[in-house]
Structure formats: structure tokens, C-alpha cells
């Protein structure tokens, strides 16, 4: 066999090269296949953007929001709007109530990503630009409705939302309207008196 080379023989070096190339081909094919499976699994509708814009108190706010983040968390810890309180974080107390498209919602129990196209109003956005208080806020100052007032911003937002739809409620109707808010000081009687005064202020179109 010396000095003779069969045209069909494969040298050891070529064979090893071939194995490496083949392995690489298998590995890359595997990689491609895995990648395509992943692409197939990622739904088209997935939330891809974390940096989103939400409309809070009439302003467009750019904010970095996790997918599992609640609106209360975004408002308080990302946007610094700490007027919205977190009481129970379980939709059981009402302290975190904000208006979403004029309707009262517990902000602890909605994902920020679900309100991207909606208008959010918090207690900070109620007063006029010149500092004039909202009629309901003025009603509370007039009647000294709250004791510790931790629940106050939630009560105000519930009442404002309710009064937008029912501007002329009886005391019982208003009580039903804000029944999704709790006050641990048990100050309900004074709170209702204040909110009724606020309703009256709203109807008169004045805050004084």
C-alpha cells in the first residue's frame, strides 16, 4: 500500500474534519430548531414594551412598568403620587380608589398594562391648576369630615366618581355609592355629611 492512494479512501484528518463539521451542522440545526420553537411559543399579543406612556391627571407619563405591576404600585412608587394609599392590597378597603375613565376602581387590583389607553385621575389631579380645591375636597374641609384621614383620598375619588353619574343623591344613595370604602375610625356619619356638602358644592358649581 506504500505510495499508493485509493481515490475513495478518507484520511484520518479529513474524517475528523468531517465529524466536526457534521457535529457543528447538527448543533446549529438544533439551535435553529429550538429558536424557531421558542418563536412559535411566544404569542404575537405578548406585552413586549416595558416603557409605556399612561395618562395620569391629564399628563402623559412615560414609565417603566413590569408586567405584573398593579396601578397602585406604579402611581405610588414610580410616579410619586402617594396620595393614593395602599391599605389592604386586596380590593377590600378602598384606600387605593382612583378614577379610570371616570369610573372608580381599586388601583391595587388592576394591572398598569391594562390601562394604557385610559385616563387615570388620582386625588392629586382634582384641584384646579390655580390651587382651587375640588368642590368635594372643599366640602370635607368645611365639615371636617375625617379623623385620621388615611382612607380620605379613596373616599374622595369614590364620591367624585359617583357624583359624576348621580349629581343629586340622597344621603342613603351616596352612602351606597361610597360603600366600597372602609374607615377604621368609624367616622362614617361625618364623612357622609362632608360628601353631601361636596355634592351640594358641585351642584352650585362652586367650591366656596
Amino acid at each position: 500500500m506504500t505510495g499508493e492512494k485509493s481515490p475513495t479512501a478518507v484520511s484520518r484528518r479529513t474524517f475528523i474534519k468531517g465529524v466536526i463539521a457534521g457535529g457543528a451542522a447538527v448543533a446549529s440545526a438544533n439551535y435553529l430548531f429550538r429558536a424557531s420553537t421558542l418563536l412559535g411559543q411566544t404569542p404575537v399579543a405578548a406585552v413586549s414594551e416595558r416603557l409605556i406612556a399612561i395618562t395620569v391627571n391629564g399628563q402623559q407619563r412615560r414609565v417603566d412598568v413590569m408586567k405584573q405591576e398593579t396601578l397602585a404600585w406604579t402611581l405610588r412608587y414610580k410616579l410619586g403620587l402617594t396620595g393614593t394609599k395602599l391599605g389592604c392590597d386586596r380590593a377590600e378597603c378602598g384606600s387605593c380608589t382612583v378614577l379610570v375613565d371616570d369610573v372608580p376602581h381599586y388601583s391595587c387590583s388592576m394591572l398598569t398594562h391594562t390601562v394604557r389607553n385610559k385616563k387615570i385621575l388620582t386625588v392629586e389631579g382634582l384641584a384646579a391648576a390655580d390651587g382651587t380645591l375640588h368642590p368635594v375636597q372643599q366640602g370635607i374641609i368645611d365639615e371636617q369630615g375625617f379623623q385620621c384621614a388615611f382612607c380620605m383620598s379613596g373616599f374622595i375619588m369614590s364620591a367624585v366618581g359617583f357624583l359624576k353619574a348621580n349629581p343629586n343623591p340622597t344621603r342613603a344613595e351616596l352612602a351606597h355609592g361610597v360603600s366600597g370604602n372602609l374607615c377604621r375610625c368609624q367616622d362614617y356619619d361625618k364623612i357622609l355629611t362632608s360628601l353631601m356638602r361636596g355634592a351640594e358644592n358641585m351642584r352650585r358649581g362652586t367650591s366656596v
Partner: protein, 338 residues
Amino acid sequence: MAVIRDVMPAFELVQPTSAAEAQKILEQNGSDALILAGGMDSFDWLKDRIKRPKIVVDLSGIDELKGVRTVADGIEIGAMTTLTEIVNNETIKQKYGLLAQAAELVASPQIRNQGTIGGNVSQDARCWYYRAGWPCYRAGGNICYADDPDGRNREHAILLADRCVAVNPSDSAPALIALDAKVVMRTPKGERVVDAEDYFIGPEIDITRLHILQPGDLLTAIRIPATWANTKFYFEKIRDRNVWDFPLLNIASAMVVSGGTIERIRIAVNAVAARPLRLKAVEDAVRGKAPNAETGVMAGKLAVRWAVPLQFNGYKIPLMRNLVKRAIGGVEEAVWAA
């Protein structure tokens, strides 16, 4: 239960814009996916880290699932219609007031503003052992902590319990059964329509679920036929607090009276068993009789005939007896001694 003041564990959030797309995503991901409607039930599970879905499918962007439509025979309510929209809907108020009454008594105003009819009928059991993540029958284990000498079971079942004694907590469910509603689902095999009565299941069929919705299925609508529109309705919910609370017991009935006797009637109760119960035996017994206190007393006795109380929920038996009596015989004026 400890309240964890932190964000929920991470999940993938998908926001489909059509029911078809949502159903496809649910089908692809099976039990890894959790459906988010209003979220009023879901967030508790996520915040307590007891359900850990990989993917949360938010239905709030699907317009075709929202709103009340008039169809040939009655109405169709999209699954994502909020309870407040149902309470304020003119057609529902005028013709199907029973459902409006039931929806108005759910939880609190803010929860009704966000909670949906689809979510209300599909919500999970409220048994605190189960919700706290204890490995009970319903959670796939082999023990019931509520039906135990030390168990707290004041809110639990008096009828048809099988290992698990949790009850269905929905207020709208008995009203939908009394109105003979149909539940419309989009499944991998196509559209499926079942009677509201058959949408709910007990532990003898599947101990881990309160309804027939399988992973991959999507509840799309509820249809109410005109059969029971504008009949004589009765709805009553008994609860500890007037806001937020789930029912200790609720009852819904629709009745047609002609010539002084009951011509036809449908009556259902909830929070007494793992599924809302239609009281067929009572319906058969009172047909042709006068809708008075005497018939009501007879019906009430019949309704609780096979009730088996646990240690702390014996009060539910007279409660159910009296609610059935009131639904059929009317509410007597309370007379207060001076």
C-alpha cells in the same frame, strides 16, 4: 392569611384583541395559562403565590366579548361585560330584572365596576383552607380541613358534599339558572353551548374545578332566552356584611302565576353546595298550587330534605327553608312588637 406587600411574581402577560386569538393562546399554553377577566378573584391567587401561572391572558382588550346584545330569542351578554353594566342595562332591568338584582348585590361598587359576568360565574371556591394553599382535596391532596372536628365550616356546604365541602360563591349563577340561561364557550373543538345549570359541576365530577371550563376553553357569552322575561322574580342574598361579602345563602326564582296557581317556575339556590342547585323537586311539587305561605312552607321543607349540616353551618337549613318559602309564598310584612 399573611398579606405580602410586594409585587406579584413575574409572569408573561399577553393581551389578545380577539376571542379567537385568546382561545388559541389558551389552547397552546394549557394549564400554564390563567385567564384574567376583571381580575377580582385572580389577583388574590397571584399575590398569595398560590397559583403560579407562566402566562396571564388579559381579556380586557377584546371588544367582541363586551356588551349586551339583543338576539332573535332574548339577549346575549358578552363574558367581559361588567356587573355595573348589567345593573344599569335598560333591557336587563326591564325584562330580566332578576339578573340585575343579583348583580347589584355582588361585593362593592368598585368591584362591580371591574368584575365581569364571565368571572362571576367562573370564580373559584372561597374555602379559606383551600385559598390559603393548604393541600386539600380541591388542591389535589387527600384531606379536607374544613370537614374536620377542628374545622371552621360556618360558610360551607349542607348538600351534595363529596370529600370537599366548599360551596360555589356566585350571586349571578342562581339567577342565570332561574332564567334558563345558556353559557357559550369557544373550545379547541369549536363553539360549545350548555345550559347554565350544566356549566357548574360538583366534586363528584371534578373536585378541582367548580365549572366545566377546561384549560384551553374560553367563556365568550351568556345567552338568556325570552322564555322567562317579565315573569315574577324573587332574589334574596343573605350575608354577614352588606358590602363585599359572599353569600351565606342566596336564592333566585322566576314564576308564572295564572288563575291563582303556579303555572311554571324555576328556582335555584347557591352557597349550599359546590354548584348552584336548581330545586327541581320543589318546582314539580308547587306547580298547580297557589303561591301562598302554605305552599311555601311545604316547598321549604322539601328543599332541605336531604341536607346534612357540618359542625357550624346548621343554621343554613332553616335559612334555606325560609328563603324557599319566601320565594314562593311571598315575604310577610315584619311585625315589630313595641
